[in-house]
């Protein structure tokens, strides 16, 4: 295990705080004299030990240096390089003026205790905390614990970046030579290099690292900049929270990878700005914070002086009022108070009440407990007050669960029956492999909702979302119905779904309120590739100038759009870019809700309107608004017995 903390503090500056892990005072003194020699004596303090090591582990020492950053950076690199060859008996792990890192081996509380953090009145403008189960580094020494610091940056990272080799190549070419060897430290180094030596601002640096898809880059200048700094772009899974100070302001940056393979949420209340892996962590500090998530491949930026600078979404999130429609019941024998329970205790308590024949159980003060509702198979109503943890109602067969608050990741996974009602937002991977029953979300939901949903005979799951969702809605969907109402974005032209809707869909039906851009449905080749192909045909005289111009003037199109605009032979040619052996033609209709749809969904619309007190809105949307309806061409027919393939 490893854990650690970092604080960013504007008036911390008394010089660069060089922090060293060393096996003994002697080694710390060696670092001191090496530093002194390279800094020409501008060291203000001897190494001061921060704690007494236990079990022969490394001790942290601090010394203060007044120096030009470039000279200090080189000295740190050289000293670390030398000690790395020398069985790492010492390593400098932090050297900022405004950054202070406390990290070690053990649980967060252990680290808090060895640094005596409780008794030191440590104040900061921003705090970062991290705990980990090491998967990619040995973890037995504190040098591998998070946060990783470089210059005025401190970062924590969840993930395993697949661009690690590329990022290391860039760092080597820039003169970095000594690493502890994790993919997390490169993130700190890249951010520090871009801001300290290339003078990018925080926003520009974050944009390069979080690495949106090329097709989303706004102009050729950005393309060129991203090309030049391709070695700093991150790929593979990551969510990162970083703190930085330039001496005038303190910044919080949070970013997620382009597929959003790792969770991240951000939040804001009157006093603080938050970023975390799970909402429950934010709720530990603030009951009232507005919490939302970052778009895939985007970054969140806030500062002490300016507040939220960029919300991590191209469109600021719209919320329903978080005030619960129902006051939590008072603590009594009839309800479970989860305030001091871990997930095992809570689930045991639910199980015991259920065994005694309870028909309804109220649970209050829920904060991050996982697996609620898992393993119960009798009809039972659960009312959950607070923020339940991941994997709520997985494998649910019979429970009717009502949540007064937001839910986290992976709700209703492989659910085959029962119902989940959420008076708030849901996060990523909602209703994965959902195959029976109903899930209603009043607010927004995250990435990969309803992926791999399926139906069997009379079991047809229905997922209804009142707000908007991010990418990959209904990916690999094989059955059931998803409805995205986007009620909080009515009267706007905001599309209430992200990219790659219905990618790999083979069955079921998706309804999205409003128009969905054709290129967002399924996986389409980049626009530039299609235009390139058509331009080739134009230059060969196989496509008319008029036809080419018609397509080139469109910002967004799909194969269906093209087949309506271009001659048949051209469509046949260009379809090569779209169609492959796994491609399934999707029917996309833009229309109002009709009789057939109501036969399928009427009960759910009514129930959704009733439980969320949104009847008027739902009725009006059904009667007046256009929907984009998506289903596979051969799909959504009553199931007939067929031999299954492979």
């Amino acid at each position: 295990m490893g854990a650690g903390f970092a604080r960013i503090k504007l008036d911390l500056d008394t010089g660069h705080r060089v922090k060293v892990f060393a096996t003994s005072e002697e080694e710390a003194m060696r670092v001191y004299s090496m530093l002194k020699e390279r800094m020409h004596g501008r060291i203000l303090s001897m190494p001061v030990p921060e704690y007494t090591p236990q079990n022969g582990s490394l001790t942290s020492y601090t010394m203060i240096v007044k120096a030009d950053y470039g000279a200090l950076w080189r000295a740190v690199r050289d000293i670390n390089g030398e000690f790395w060859r020398d069985d790492f008996r010492a390593r400098i792990y932090s050297w900022g003026r405004f950054v202070d890192v406390y990290k070690g081996v053990g649980y967060p509380l252990d680290v808090y205790n060895i640094y005596h953090m409780g008794g030191r009145e440590l104040y900061g403008d921003m705090w970062i905390a991290h705990t980990r189960q090491p998967t990619n580094s040995p973890g037995r020494l504190p040098i591998w614990s998070h946060p990783f610091a470089s210059g005025e940056w401190a970062i924590v990272h969840n993930g395993d970046i697949s661009s690690f080799g590329s990022n290391m190549e860039l760092l080597w070419s820039l003169g970095y030579t000594s690493f502890v060897g994790t993919d997390s430290e490169v993130i700190a180094h890249l951010l520090d290099y871009l801001t300290s030596f290339q003078h990018f601002n925080v926003q520009e640096a974050a944009k390069i690292l979080c690495n949106k898809f090329n097709k989303e880059l706004p102009d050729p200048e950005t393309v060129k900049q991203f090309y030049r700094w391709r070695g700093a772009r991150l790929d593979g899974p990551f969510s990162v929270i970083a703190g930085f100070s330039d001496g005038h302001d303190a910044y919080m940056v949070a970013f997620a990878d382009r597929f959003k393979f790792r969770p991240i949420v951000v939040g804001e209340d009157e006093d603080y700005i938050y970023a975390a892996s799970e909402e429950a962590q934010i709720r530990t500090i603030s009951q009232d914070a507005r919490v939302w998530t970052i778009e895939p491949g985007d970054y969140f930026l806030a500062s002490l002086r300016e507040g939220v600078i960029y919300p991590g979404r191209r469109m600021p999130e719209r919320f329903y009022s978080l005030s619960s429609p129902l006051k939590p019941p008072t603590i009594s024998g009839e309800c479970i108070d989860a305030a001091h329970m871990n997930y095992r205790m809570l689930n045991q308590a639910i199980l015991e009440k259920a065994r005694l024949g309870a028909k309804q159980i109220d649970i209050i003060n829920v904060r991050g407990q996982r697996y609620i509702g898992v393993g119960l198979d009798q009809p039972l109503k659960l009312r959950v007050f607070g923020t339940p943890g991941n994997c709520l109602a997985n494998l649910n067969t019979s429970l009717d669960i009502e949540v007064f608050g937001n839910v986290q990741d992976d709700v209703g996974d492989v659910m085959t029956g029962g119902r989940i009602v959420v008076h708030g937002d849901a996060r990523d991977v909602l209703a994965q492999a959902f195959q029976g029953g109903a899930i209603y979300i009043k607010g927004n939901a995250g990435n990969r909702c309803g992926i791999q949903m399926r139906e069997y005979r009379d079991q047809r799951p229905v997922l209804m979302i009142g707000g908007r969702v991010d990418d990959y809605l209904g990916e690999y969907m094989a059955g059931g119905v998803i409805v995205v109402l986007g009620l909080n974005y009515l009267e706007t032209d905001v599309e209430v779904v992200g990219n790659c809707v219905a990618s790999g869909m083979v069955g079921g039906k998706i309804y999205v309120r409003g128009m969905v851009s054709p290129s967002k449905i399924g996986l389409n080749p980049p626009r530039a590739d299609v235009i390139q192909y058509l331009r080739g045909l134009l230059l060969e005289g196989r496509l008319s100038e008029d036809d080419y111009k018609k397509v080139a003037s469109l910002k967004d199109f799909s194969l269906v759009t093209l087949s309506k605009m271009l001659p048949e032979n051209v469509v046949k040619l260009v379809s090569k870019l779209y169609v492959n052996k796994y491609w399934k033609e999707l029917v996309v209709e833009h229309r109002r809700i009709g009789e057939d749809d109501l036969a399928l969904l009427q009960n759910h619309f009514e129930e959704f309107g009733r439980v969320f007190k949104l009847k008027e809105e739902v009725d009006r949307v059904i009667a007046e608004e256009y929907f984009t309806v998506i289903y596979p061409k051969s799909g959504h027919r009553p199931r007939v017995e067929e031999p299954e393939e492979g």
Binding site: T135, N136, G159, D160, I161, S162, S163, F164, G165, S166, M168, E169, L170, W172, S173, L174, N211, F213, N214, K215, P220, V223, K224, Y227, R228, W229, R230, G231, R233, D235, G236, P237, R258, F259, F261, Y472, E475, Y476, N499, C500, S503, G504, L523, P526, A528, D529, Q532, Y533, R535, G536, L537, L539, E540, K576, L577, N580, K581, Y582, W583
Partner: protein, 339 residues
């Protein structure tokens, strides 16, 4: 043993639509492999290199349902190829067919390497994707496309110095060099304003392509242009008649190639014949390129990577060597398997 093993030829032809009924579709038979070095006998260094697979904490990416970027930019971001591929080996092919190849490549966003000037009527956009061997006697006003200079030594560069000074800055300049690792030559190439280097095994040299390429990548990373590592402002291209497949292109990418020039591979793949119908040639090239792009995407997806240029090119950490001597691993910058 021919370098064109039966399974390699058959795979290329299936992609091109010469064999089978699924043109453009990478054949996937089963898990496991019959490939070198463990089953078939390895013939080149490339055969000793394997790609790291995605694993639990770093999932694979399904390129049929999620975006994977095979595009690469050349010439400091100004030319965009849809995939890391350039078609070469067009010497001795009749002019009508050359035009067909150029057109098919343009549609598919693939570069072309030509030794003789293309038809002067070619549109400038098409010309911009053609790397043309420069003749010292050639008038430079004819077009603005990339020009390729054959350079073997610093002396060669001195000879064309005046020409370069006359046109430098207005042209995209490419140095085409044999498989040699000369720091001094690279330093001169960078200093003279070349924006790309083709390391071409057909020009000879004293190193295998893999080594020369990897060394060039690292040399250019140590050299600088305005304090920026030169490699990140320049393109590096590998060329050899023995580049056989998408997997070779993928591995050469890992050793530092932004793109590869293939020659025999495409001719064998489309079953090229001098008398073939231009439309058939055009179609087969398209199929082959689409198929190879899909194969590259599958390889990227299997490694958990979604961008070829930023995550594969030069990213040696994603690769491992099996049964290569330690000094060879060092020169390539690739760790032995198990490390």
């Amino acid at each position: 043993m021919s370098i064109w093993r039966r399974d390699i030829v058959s795979n290329l032809r299936a992609l091109a639509g010469v064999e089978g009924k699924t043109a453009g579709e990478p054949p996937i038979a089963s898990m496991g492999t019959t490939n070198p070095p463990l089953i078939e006998k390895p013939q080149f260094i490339l055969d000793h290199i394997v790609s790291d697979g995605a694993q639990v904490t770093r999932p694979s990416i399904d390129p049929y349902r999620e975006p994977t970027e095979t595009e690469v930019y050349l010439f400091d971001g100004e030319v965009r190829l849809l995939m890391p591929l350039i078609i070469g080996g067009l010497c001795g092919i009749n002019p009508q067919h050359i035009l067909v190849v150029i057109q098919a490549c343009f549609r598919m966003g693939v570069g072309v390497h030509l030794e003789q000037p293309p038809p002067p009527t070619l549109h400038p956009d098409v010309r911009s994707m053609i790397l043309l061997d420069a003749q010292l006697s050639m008038p430079f006003s004819i077009d603005r496309g990339p020009l390729v200079y054959h350079v073997e030594s610093v002396e060669d560069l001195a000879k064309i110095k005046d020409i370069l000074e006359g046109i430098g800055g207005r042209r995209k300049l490419v140095a085409r060099i044999p498989c040699i690792s000369s720091q001094q030559l690279y330093s001169e190439i960078v200093g003279r304003g070349f924006q790309a280097v083709i390391i071409d095994e057909e020009l000879g040299g004293d190193e295998p392509l893999e080594v020369a390429l990897s060394q060039a990548d690292h040399t250019l990373k140590r050299l600088t242009i305005n304090n920026h590592p030169a490699r990140y402002l320049m393109s590096l291209i590998a060329a050899s008649r023995r580049i056989r497949s998408s997997s070779d292109i993928f591995k050469l990418g890992g050793l530092g190639a932004d793109a590869c020039v293939i020659s025999d591979a495409w001719r064998i793949g489309v079953d090229y014949r001098s008398e073939m119908e231009p439309s058939l040639l055009s179609e087969r090239i398209e199929n082959l390129l689409i198929g190879m792009q899909r194969e590259i995407k599958l390889l990227m997806g299997a490694a958990g990577v979604s961008s070829f240029q930023s995550s594969i090119v030069g990213s040696r950490e994603l690769f491992r060597a099996i049964d290569l001597p330690q000094n060879m691993c060092m020169r390539l910058g690739v760790k032995p398997a198990g490390e």
